[in-house]
């Protein structure tokens, strides 16, 4: 199952670390980045594409916020606020965390947020076994065929092959072609002599 990736930006170490230790109690969440430099926010979105970014909208310049918004199609933003700013959810944000609220409430709100249907569909996948179709694709990958060649052989579009490969890698936890080849041999999808 893929965990939801969170990034937290705040100048204060205590806040970053404190928030992370609370959020990490939710099993489906993984903290990928604690950021303290404004420059790092865009890099983080570009390179790691987290599911959520938590930050205080008042702590950064408006144009940086605009950039963040335009950069991150997938990344949803959660505002970290306190006091009288809490009354409404600021523009470009999906939720608010009140910095003064007790742990249970923060966890409850986050659980509600990540439990939303749309996210569930894309990120939750309990099925880890590869399907027969994926096994077909894996066979040709392990034998050293390119995506294009596999697409031709199986009458699929190259795009479909890429999608299958992504799913295979996610399910097995194996990224490289030689690694996939070993998996295929161990599971008798191909024979070791085929690879010579």
């Amino acid at each position: 199952m893929k965990k939801l990736a969170f990034a937290i930006f705040d100048k204060s170490y205590i806040i970053r670390k404190g928030l992370a230790s609370i959020i990490e109690k939710i099993a489906d969440i993984q903290i990928i980045h604690l950021l303290d430099q404004e420059d790092d926010i865009l890099n983080c979105i570009k390179n790691d594409n987290p599911d959520f970014l938590i930050l205080n909208p008042d702590a950064i310049a408006q144009d940086l916020l605009n950039k963040i918004v335009s950069f991150s199609k997938k990344t949803k933003r959660i505002a970290l606020l306190s006091g009288n700013k809490l009354e409404s959810i600021p523009q470009h944000f999906v939720a608010v965390i009140d910095i003064n609220s007790p742990q249970a409430e923060i966890l409850k709100n986050l659980n509600k947020l990540i439990g939303e249907k749309e996210i569930k569909k894309t990120s939750y996948n309990y099925q880890e076994e590869i399907s027969p179709r994926e096994a077909d694709i894996l066979k040709y990958v392990a034998l050293g065929y390119s995506n294009k060649e596999i697409a031709d052989k199986l009458f699929l579009s190259a795009h479909t092959v890429v999608t299958h490969r992504k799913n295979i890698t996610r399910k097995l936890g194996i990224k490289t072609v030689p690694g996939l080849t070993i998996y295929a041999i161990l599971n008798k999808i191909i024979d070791i002599d085929d690879t010579e």
């Binding site: 670390k17 604690l34 936890g173 194996i174 990224k175 490289t176 030689p178 690694g179 070993i182 599971n187």
Partner: protein, 243 residues
């Protein structure tokens, strides 16, 4: 625990045995009695501040004193990185290969599977070697040249040509995911490898792979978080100066 100069060197290891590998890299040998970190570093002519920053960053990832580490000279940083390369090639990789060889020799039923793993690790070893060679032959000399030009009042214009042909951002882009194959190997052993008879050796192998992975990640972190920003800033200053 944050390590300081006044702590006894023996306590550094007693509290965190992982630091042993790092001590070795600085050429520090065991047997230091009750000497402090500072005394031991003096004896081995090691820059104690740099030593402490590397250790602290290794023990606690959050500690990472990016700004502070960047005050050290490029030479100090690349020398250390180079020593970690040697450690991979001369110590860690041969250790893992030996373990795999042992597994093959003492395992009568699943030899084929283990041969596969060994071959896979052989490919990884080559990848790692290419990676470190590239750093030592291209990247490190470049960073040293940049530092030299940066420190001079009137740097030679030739450095601009150098910067045109290569830049630290190129390095950052080509700095590929050297740990991908290692992650695959771990996953294959943990999830899919039919367990050989001598599973004890298998556990040890996994343990070694985890150690190597942690060390490589630590190494990359120093490159990405310390060396790259430091050089990028120097490149910027040099361009300004020579304008």
């Amino acid at each position: 625990m944050i390590l300081t100069k006044e702590i006894k060197m023996a306590d550094v290891i007693l509290k965190n045995y992982n630091t042993l590998f790092i001590l070795k890299r600085f050429g520090i040998e065991l047997g230091f009695g009750d000497k402090t970190v500072e005394d031991v570093c003096k004896k081995y002519k090691v820059d104690v501040d740099f030593f402490l920053e590397i250790l602290n960053a290794y023990i606690d990832h959050d500690y990472f004193p990016r700004k502070h580490l960047q005050t050290f000279s490029v030479k100090l940083i690349t020398d250390y990185l180079q020593k970690t390369h040697q450690y991979y090639h001369q110590v860690k990789v041969p250790e893992i290969e030996l373990l795999m060889q042992d597994m093959i020799q003492t395992c009568y039923t699943k030899k084929d599977n283990l041969e596969l793993l060994k071959k896979f690790f052989g490919q990884y070893k080559q990848e790692l070697l290419n990676h470190t060679n590239r750093e030592e032959e291209v990247v490190f000399p470049y960073t040293l040249a940049i530092e030299k030009a940066y420190l001079e009042n009137n740097p030679d214009k030739s450095v601009l040509k150098l910067m045109k042909e290569y830049s630290i951002d190129i390095f950052k882009d080509e700095h590929d995911n050297i740990e991908e194959k290692l992650t695959d190997l771990k996953n294959i052993i943990i999830k899919y490898l039919p367990q050989p008879k001598n599973s004890e050796l298998c556990y040890r192998l996994l343990h070694e792979l985890f150690i190597l992975e942690k060390d490589i990640n630590d190494h990359s972190r120093i490159e990405d978080k310390v060396l790259v920003p430091k050089i990028r800033e120097m490149e910027k200053q040099i361009s300004l100066k020579l304008k």
